[in-house]
């Protein structure tokens, strides 16, 4: 075989293997392009027009402009929703991260029955958001709910709280349900992260006289930093998207107190049929979640090892 022929064969087989790689990827690419990229482009385009879904021409006529965005900036409901969203994302993250970290540390300890305890702790994970929302609605029921009962028994409140007709309590109830659904993700990721920290680090620290708190701060948390970063990003993006829990529990009410941007987008689009305005709010939501991602990744990207 002449060298040039061998080279040609190699080239052909390289091209073939490249083709093979993309053939394997093709279905995933098609699905993502069709259902994610294309709608995103259309949504972006829609946000500059005034689209009426039920008109034959679908409304892509007239001069494009920033008017939906201008409407949005001038709309008090948008700013209220933005505040609600930021509060919801903040408290949702704090709560589920806190519980996630606590349970991960607890389940990292060696004890009999640990395997079962792990499965049980993560049980809220597979529960559909609608079901979680329904359970919490019942627990927070103002007349017969178990939460009012317990609070009354303990003496924290003197009369039952009407959870879903007042702004603060409604926000609290919705956020608590969200935290319950969201903490197992932190438990899993932090636990996986802890299991990959070499034991020798702790032994060395003990030899140097570090106590448990110091070990936790300077080894566990420090080594988990990148894991925490990525988990925070994924959780924050999830919180920006949460729809079912809020929609079922309050529908965004009372008077907008739990109307996050995800809910507002949906209501504008499918209750008031302001598709273009909704798309504009959606684009801004997307921008916010991208910004949040970069902030987290920057803050936690310092590597430990």
């Amino acid at each position: 075989m002449t060298p040039s022929l061998a080279r040609r064969r190699r080239l052909v087989s390289a091209a073939r293997s490249r083709l093979y790689a993309f053939a394997l990827l093709a279905p995933a690419i098609i699905v993502v392009l069709l259902v994610i990229v294309y709608p995103l482009v259309v949504a972006g385009q829609m946000s500059f027009y005034d689209v009426h879904v039920f008109r034959r021409d679908r409304g892509f006529t007239g001069t494009p402009g920033w008017f939906n965005y201008i409407d949005m900036i001038e709309n008090a409901a948008f700013w209220r929703s933005l505040r609600v969203t930021l509060g919801y994302v903040f408290w949702g993250t704090v709560g589920s991260f806190g519980i996630g970290l606590f349970t991960a540390v607890l389940l990292h300890q060696p004890f009999r029955g640990r395997f079962l305890a792990r499965v049980l702790v993560m049980m809220p994970w597979p529960i559909p958001g609608v079901v979680a929302a329904t359970i919490f609605m019942w627990m927070f029921n103002s007349s017969f709910g178990v939460i009012n009962y317990l609070l009354l028994q303990v003496g924290l409140i003197e009369s039952s709280i009407p959870w879903f007709t007042r702004a603060g309590p409604a926000f609290f109830a919705v956020t608590l349900a969200t935290i319950w659904k969201g903490y197992p993700f932190f438990t899993v990721t932090l636990l996986a992260g802890m299991q990959s920290i070499p034991r020798e680090l702790y032994e060395a620290a003990r030899v140097d006289g570090a106590n448990a708190v110091q070990q936790f701060r300077h080894i566990t948390i420090a080594a988990l930093r990148p894991v925490i970063g990525i988990a925070l990003v994924i959780s924050t993006l999830w919180l920006f998207r949460v729809f079912d829990i809020i929609f079922v529990m309050t529908g965004g009410g009372p008077s907008g107190a739990t109307e996050t941007l995800a809910i507002q987008i949906y209501r504008e689009a499918f209750q008031y049929f302001q598709m273009s305005y909704a798309a504009a709010v959606g684009m801004v939501t997307l921008l916010l979640s991208v910004i949040a991602t970069f902030v987290y990744l920057r803050a936690t990207s310092k590597s430990f090892y």
Partner: protein, 277 residues
Amino acid sequence: MLRRHRLNSLVLYVLVIGTLAVLLFPLYWMLVTALRPGNVLLSWPPQFFPADASLSAFRRVLGETLIFRWFLNSTVVAAVTIAIAVPVSSLAGYAMSRFRYRGVSETGFLLLVARMLPASLLIIPLYILFARLGLINNYLALVIANTSFVVPFGAWMMKGFFDSIPRELEDAAMIDGASAFGALLRVVMPLSLPGLAATTIYCAILTWGEFVFATTLISGESRWTGPIGIAAFNQQYRIEWNDIMAASLIFVLPVVVLFGFLERYLVQGIAASGVKG
């Protein structure tokens, strides 16, 4: 020393059991409420133990609502989504694990970005698109939408599993005369069963609970999936809490059982997906 050790483990058990009791209380409450007979449900104080347990709520829900039908609809949607999304994720994950061509890692990045988008934004153009294609009120639309939400993370999870399978195995199979795809199918896939299990359970959880798309794209009570049916209970004028809890319990049971058996694979999958760092 030994005594201190015992004390520590006692404290640990108390902590574990206390934590579980608090965190699992909502599920316990769902069960207790579902077992209450209707006439005493709205009583005060709430009963913490189902002393007068009855299955009347289950009987009523199964007999008088379409829950069985919704359950079936959800099963069909979930099964078809799994049948499509798991192979698609596997092939993409395999390509991402084995090939370093330009465009392969870019696709991986595209998949990650795809996961960020809020469904309530995407649903607007999708609704218009599906309306144009005549797919409104068609489960195909739901399956396509669900698939697109499973594949991005599923592919990364499968990549993590494939990364841990040595390449030499495929090379050996190919020297023995297998084609590249044959080696993937007959040598690599059987070794990545934990990965397939992880992707399947991930897909099942996501699809079983999916609400935004189902509520927007599907209408007509007999075509609803489980979550829409359960949400509809909430909108009734008079909410029968034991009925709705019984319906919820019936609906969550399969996914909870599946999760109980396959949880460790999902955990492994999340660790392998690179969330670990």
